[in-house]
């Protein structure tokens, strides 16, 4: 479970001064559900997710991830999460098996248990032929499957996906979304950021529309009015952020 309460992040720039990236964001993600953070590039999605992954510290506010406070117990949080960003690459000179072993070890797994876990992941993630191949020789789709296997190698309770289909073709993106839905079925808490409306509509149980660091609307697709009078999710999104765009 993820409980976010009044999360705020301000960056400081010597020339521009304080730049608020995330402003008082609050939401809750439940186990067995996919929570979508929908926003344009630069809306504050990545900064929010980086704070939840304890990569960045919040300026104020807090969040509990898997029951642990991200400010007070960041190490406990990190033990229980899997984090994947769409622009994350892998280590080209490692094989698939070496890469999974490395991240399993960093996650604190028992070294003796890692080989069995890798074999268990090989089938569902289609990695059988990739385990002994160097990452640099894999296709983009193969790398993305390996990336997701990397995220779940330690079987985390909470999964944080930051635009994981970025740069993938339609087949690669479908594979990733199918794997995310599989994780949801297994009862994991999934938070998923995207700027692609069809993706959000397809896999998210709840959506928060974020713009300029603030959540403008949030709820289930139905409660946002998608499909019952307000039009498509794209229409709802444009309607929600229109006022903010006028301020540009």
């Amino acid at each position: 479970m993820i409980e976010v309460q009044g999360l705020r992040k301000t960056f400081h720039d010597r020339k521009k001064g304080d730049i608020p990236a995330v402003k008082d964001v609050s939401f809750t993600c439940h186990p067995g559900r996919v929570f979508g953070l929908l926003g344009r590039n630069g809306a504050g999605k990545t900064t929010t997710l980086r704070m939840l992954a304890t990569i960045l510290s919040p300026t104020s506010g807090t969040a509990k991830v898997a029951g642990f406070d991200i400010v007070e117990k960041p190490a406990e949080v990190r033990r229980r999460i899997g984090y994947l960003s769409g622009d994350t690459k892998l280590y080209d000179r490692l094989t698939g098996r070496e890469l999974l072993t490395y991240f399993g070890t960093l996650a604190g797994m028992d070294p003796a248990a890692i080989p069995a876990r890798i074999e268990a992941l090989a089938g569902p993630f289609g990695l059988a032929d990739l385990l002994d191949k160097r990452v640099g020789k894999m296709s983009t789709g193969m790398k993305q499957r390996l990336s997701i296997a990397r995220v779940v190698v330690h079987d985390p309770e909470v999964l944080i996906f930051d635009e994981p289909t970025s740069g993938l073709d339609v087949f690669g993106a479908r594979e990733v979304l199918a794997l995310v839905l599989e994780l949801k079925k297994k009862g994991r808490t999934v938070i998923f950021s995207t700027h692609i409306m069809t993706e959000a509509e397809r896999i998210c149980d709840e959506i928060a529309i974020i713009e300029k660091g603030s959540i403008l609307r949030q709820g289930t697709l139905a409660s946002l009015g998608v499909g019952n009078g307000s039009g498509s999710l794209e229409d709802v999104f444009i309607e929600a952020v229109k006022g903010e765009l006028d301020d540009r």
Binding site: H12, T54, I55, R78, Y83, S85, K89, L106, G108
Partner: protein, 397 residues
């Protein structure tokens, strides 16, 4: 030159000149780093020269009665004590002198007959103290030659006949083993520093800035490993690469000069006896370790700070150059090195290693060099961890 070529040239130039790092590297850094390093080397050289004038040495004089002025002039040189000897010692090493002046037994007869006269100063280039002594005696030996010429002129009634060959020669009597030890003591510490610095650069930048550029940094930051665990792991990898580079480099040196040179006819002139005992090898490695950790941690800290591989490599090159300069400074050292220099990182390691290779280790030097290098290594590790834990540094744009 076509217009298109010029257009590409102008674009690349504008692109380069608008890159703040390039401006810094080309126009600012040379005016800061190079003068600083040259001043440091100059300071070290001056201090060494001052030190070289102060240490006491003993000069043996064989046949002093034949030429009293030699004893007088040599004895007048600061810090020199003359040891009169009746005959040449069987072994130079057992004579406990830093140089030996050999005057022919029938000097007077030679002069009277107008025969050539050769007074010889024997010393060892392979021994810093002996070599410094020979340098210090040069003005005194010029006076001796002048005195001999005058003596010859007086014996001839100052006629205008051509004078016989009167020479005061300096003769290096170092054995090939001693020369090998001297070259090893001069070269190996510098090469070790050079190889450690060169070997650590690429790995350090790839392990830090490379993670940023590949966007893999976030994945390890979001893992259960602490920042200290991540940094120490990276420093260890850099250290392993640098030490491996140093070991293979020394092996290559030994293979070239110690093995191949003696077996390949065209290289025999370069053959040196570079045998180093296993104990010395171990001591060299142990003394290198704190300096290598310091360099590895410095490069990792720089890598954490740099925004891109290009920036990281630029900064790493400066560290490499500074290390090479400091290592080179050990070349200019005399026998008696001021204590202060054993607190200058990198240089202190090269100096201590030279003492190890020449069997002249002083405990105070070893404590100062290893202690200060270890402290600096620990400090730099802490700085690297701090930088790696600072999101403003890691994600600066």
């Amino acid at each position: 030159m076509t217009a298109k070529t010029m257009a590409v040239f102008r674009k690349e130039l504008i692109d380069t000149l608008r890159d703040g790092r390039t401006i810094f590297a080309i126009f600012v850094f040379p005016f800061l780093l190079y003068p600083a390093l040259i001043m440091l080397m100059g300071y070290i050289q001056t201090k060494n020269d001052e030190e070289a004038k102060t240490f006491s040495v003993q000069v043996g004089v064989v046949g002093a009665a034949q030429l009293p002025i030699a004893e007088e002039k040599i004895g007048a040189v600061e810090g020199v004590t003359v040891v009169p000897m009746k005959s040449e010692p069987a072994s130079y090493d057992d004579a406990n002198v830093q140089a030996l002046l050999v005057i022919p037994p029938d000097l007077r007869g030679l002069i009277a007959r107008g025969d050539s006269v050769k007074v010889e100063l024997r010393y060892k280039d392979a021994d810093n103290k002996s070599s410094e002594t020979a340098k210090r005696l040069k003005p005194a030996l010029d006076d001796v030659r002048q005195a001999l010429t005058l003596e010859w002129a007086k014996s001839r009634g100052a006629t205008a006949e051509a004078p016989p060959a009167i020479t005061v020669e300096r003769k290096d009597i170092s054995s090939s083993k001693e020369l090998g030890r001297y070259v090893a003591a001069l070269m190996i510490p510098y090469l070790l520093i050079f190889m450690v610095a060169a070997g650590s650069m690429q790995t350090a930048v790839d392990a830090t800035t490379g993670e940023k550029e590949r966007s893999t940094l976030e994945t390890i930051l979001a893992s259960a490993a602490t920042r200290a665990e991540l940094v120490i792991g990276k420093v260890l990898a850099v250290l392993a690469a640098s030490l491996t580079g140093a070991v293979t480099g020394i092996f290559g040196l030994w293979l070239s000069f110690g093995v191949l040179a003696s077996r390949i006819p065209v290289m025999q002139g370069q053959a040196l006896d570079l045998s180093i005992s296993p104990e010395k090898m171990l001591f060299l490695f142990l003394t290198l370790l704190p300096a290598a950790i310091f360099l590895s941690a410095t490069l990792v800290a720089i890598g954490c700070f740099a925004r891109s591989m290009r920036e990281g490599q630029t900064y790493a090159t400066y560290v490499y150059m500074a290390s090479v300069f400091l290592g080179l400074s050990s070349f200019t050292q005399s026998e008696s090195v001021p204590m202060k220099q054993f607190f200058i990182p990198i240089l202190n390691t090269a100096l201590l290693q030279r003492e190890i290779l020449t069997d002249t280790v002083q405990a105070s030097h070893a404590f100062a060099a290893i202690g200060s290098s270890s402290l600096l290594a620990a400090l730099m590790l802490v700085i690297a961890v701090r930088l790696f834990s600072n999101e403003q540094v890691l994600f600066r744009t």
